[in-house]
Amino acid sequence: MEFEVIRMPQTEEQLEQTFQQNGPFLSAMYTENDERIHGPENFIMDHWVMLWASGAGFLLAAKEQGNIIGLGMCVKFRDMWYGKQRLEINRYSVANEVNDEKVVVRAMMDYLLDNRTLLMFDELYLLHRTVDGGEYKELVWRANQT
């Protein structure tokens, strides 16, 4: 599995291309429960562009043989309460053909952890969303564990 941090497009053409490539995964991040609460208008794109433009987040693509098989929306920020640098996979979606989505998500987190000294974070969280609209945030890794 290979990974790509999807960077901010420089031109309109690149932006369109990036949307085309990642659109299905971004759409899948807008869950049925989101639709029930917020209506049919998918705001994930806006959310993503805001994070991207402000430098607070990025998309991480997991690829196999050049094809995207998973996409994670990553948010990095300094925790207001404890002063820790956090990285969170806030939303993710995995291709239908993947047998076990946990393997792809685990590999994404491993990639982020392997590069934690470059990304400079103290804690890594994964936000799980259940079908009934429940959410829980899993602390995957914390600094000071060798």
Partner: protein, 538 residues
């Protein structure tokens, strides 16, 4: 009168039976320091750093670094405050050090995979000429990659504005910071030609930050920068292991299966194709002693010259040793160590020393091959410290003294077992041995308390049945416990400090006895006798 006394105490020789042991040798010598030919305790290890979940230790100067993966670590030049690591992730890494903090980046600089996108301009005049562009990546350390494939050829006049679009997304781990753009020019003269010659080269046009940019080239031919020098640069391969610094040079070596890679001298990021070698056997471990690289494999061992002056594989002399001695402790990652006289590694028959052109199993005088296999050699980890090999496996930990030239006090020691079972061991630059235990790094033999030892004599035998009833034992500093053992039982007495004779109750009459000493006192003499009268002369 029974003639058995012990004024010189030696280590163990497991390949010999109790009755075969020369006078003074032991059947058990555990945690005992035999430097003086007496029985002395070692000190308990001293904890120097708290560590959790670590399985590899590395010490650079006074800084202790721990890794949670089975890594190999190399240093490079003394003024390069970085480490080079393989085995942590699927590619080699370079580690920037800042106190306890380590920043990992991928070693090497990837080549841009696509050519720059150049505005197609075709001017057809007498002054026009054909040019093309390439781009290189520059990483955080200022190291430069090989060039991309060239762009399309365009025809321009001098100073024509050319739009160049650079749109790359190199993987995060390379930490690429900028790009350099080069333009091909033809017609330069170097000044050394005797005849008019057309020289073609790629010349620097400029450098841009980041990996996405649109630039306009208006640089005239008189303003171009230096020529491209990185055509032969190649990043080290994915899955490289065994990264090793070749001493006396500025070359790093690494391996993938049976391929051996060398970096260009003074370029730790550049492992050119011209330096790549293929051996007949898959490489398991490598150690550099001087500028010689010793290579242990799953078949024959090798010796490779790592000279600075080599710029191609032909000049690296390779010596394949005569006898196949596969290294078997491959999954521990620490089954080999360097010594001043060569590389030592774990084979199925014992510890093998590769030194110059000779290969030798150095443990055969203490462990026969079948003894050795009972010690779980496939789990062994090695370290070399003050003339001795420290060897730890799942079933035994022992110290084997080798270097009687540098350390001439090794007459009595040879082989003793110890109770520590470190996960990893490292000798520091200050000559101390650090042990990685479950909860931290410990300095060997440096604590403030003594560690009790146990020493059991070889067989005290006689052709006739007899009964030992008296033992004389001289101990300093602390008392010790003496345990007289026969085939049916044992008698235990605690000897106080000083020179004392204590009576031992009868165990019946036997042909063979052993004496076990435990404690922390320094025992210098032991005599045994069959009666009080017998002891009068001792």
């Amino acid at each position: 009168m029974l003639d058995w006394n012990q004024y010189e105490f030696f280590g163990i020789l497991p390949r010999l039976r109790g009755k075969q042991l020369p006078r003074g040798y032991a059947t058990v010598a555990h945690n005992v320091d035999l430097t003086h030919g007496t029985l002395l305790p070692f000190r308990e290890p001293l904890k120097v750093k708290e560590l959790n979940n670590a399985i590899r230790l590395y010490v650079r100067g006074c800084d202790i670094y721990a890794f949670d993966k089975c890594v190999e670590v190399a240093e490079w030049l003394p003024d390069c405050p970085r480490l080079f690591v393989t085995g942590r992730v699927g590619y080699p890494e370079t580690v920037e050090l800042n106190g306890d903090n380590m920043t990992f980046r991928r070693l090497g600089v990837m080549q841009p995979l696509t050519p720059p996108d150049v505005q197609p301009i075709y001017i057809n005049t007498e002054k026009s000429r054909s040019v093309a562009y390439v781009v290189t990546f520059i990483n955080y350390f200022g190291e430069e990659s090989a060039p991309s494939l060239p762009s399309i050829d365009i025809s321009i006049e001098d100073g024509t504005a050319v739009g160049i679009s650079l749109d790359y997304n190199p993987p995060l781990e390379y930490d690429i910071k900028s790009m350099r753009i080069y333009r091909r020019e033809t017609g330069f003269r170097t000044g050394a030609e005797k005849e008019q010659e057309m020289v073609t080269n790629w010349f620097l046009i400029g450098e841009v930050r980041g990996t996405n940019a649109f630039i306009t080239d208006t640089v005239t031919i008189a303003e171009v920068g230096y020529g491209l020098t990185t055509q032969e640069v190649r990043e080290p391969p994915r899955n490289m292991r065994n990264i090793t610094n070749i001493e006396e040079t500025a070359i790093l070596a690494g391996s993938v299966a049976n391929k051996l890679y060398f970096s260009q001298n003074l370029q730790s990021y550049n492992f050119p194709l011209s330096q790549e070698m293929t051996l007949d056997d898959s490489i398991v471990a490598m150690q550099s002693v001087g500028n010689t690289l010793y290579v242990a494999t799953d078949g024959y061992p090798y010796q490779v010259v790592g000279d600075v002056g080599c710029d191609s594989r032909e000049c690296r002399q390779v010596n394949k040793y005569d006898i196949p001695m596969p290294m078997i402790a491959c999954h521990t990652g620490k089954g080999s160590t360097k010594t001043p006289f060569g590389m030592v590694y774990v084979s199925a028959d014992g510890l093998v020393l590769l030194s110059g052109n000779t290969q030798r199993v150095i443990t055969t005088d203490v462990f026969s091959a079948d003894d050795w296999r009972r010690l779980a050699p496939h789990t062994m980890r090695l370290a070399f410290h003050k003339g001795a090999i420290y060897c730890v496996s799942e079933v035994i930990s022992f110290i084997l003294w080798l270097d009687s030239e540098t350390y001439q006090d090794s007459k009595h020691k040879r082989l003793v077992t110890i109770e520590d079972e470190p996960i990893d061991m490292v000798e520091t630059r200050q000559g101390e041995l650090l042990l990685l235990l479950e909860d931290g790094a410990y300095q060997w033999n440096a604590g403030s308390t003594w560690r009790p030892y146990k020493w059991v004599s070889g067989d005290i035998d006689s052709p006739f049945l007899y009964s030992i009833t008296r033992i004389r034992l001289k101990t300093n500093e602390f008392g010790v416990r003496c345990n007289l053992q026969s085939s049916i039982g044992e008698v235990v007495r605690d000897f106080p400090v000083g020179d004392n004779i204590l009576p031992f109750s009868r165990l019946g009459r036997h042909k063979v006895y052993n004496i076990e000493i435990t404690g922390i006192g320094e025992v210098t003499e032991i005599d045994v006798g069959v009666s009080q009268l017998d002891m009068a002369s001792k």
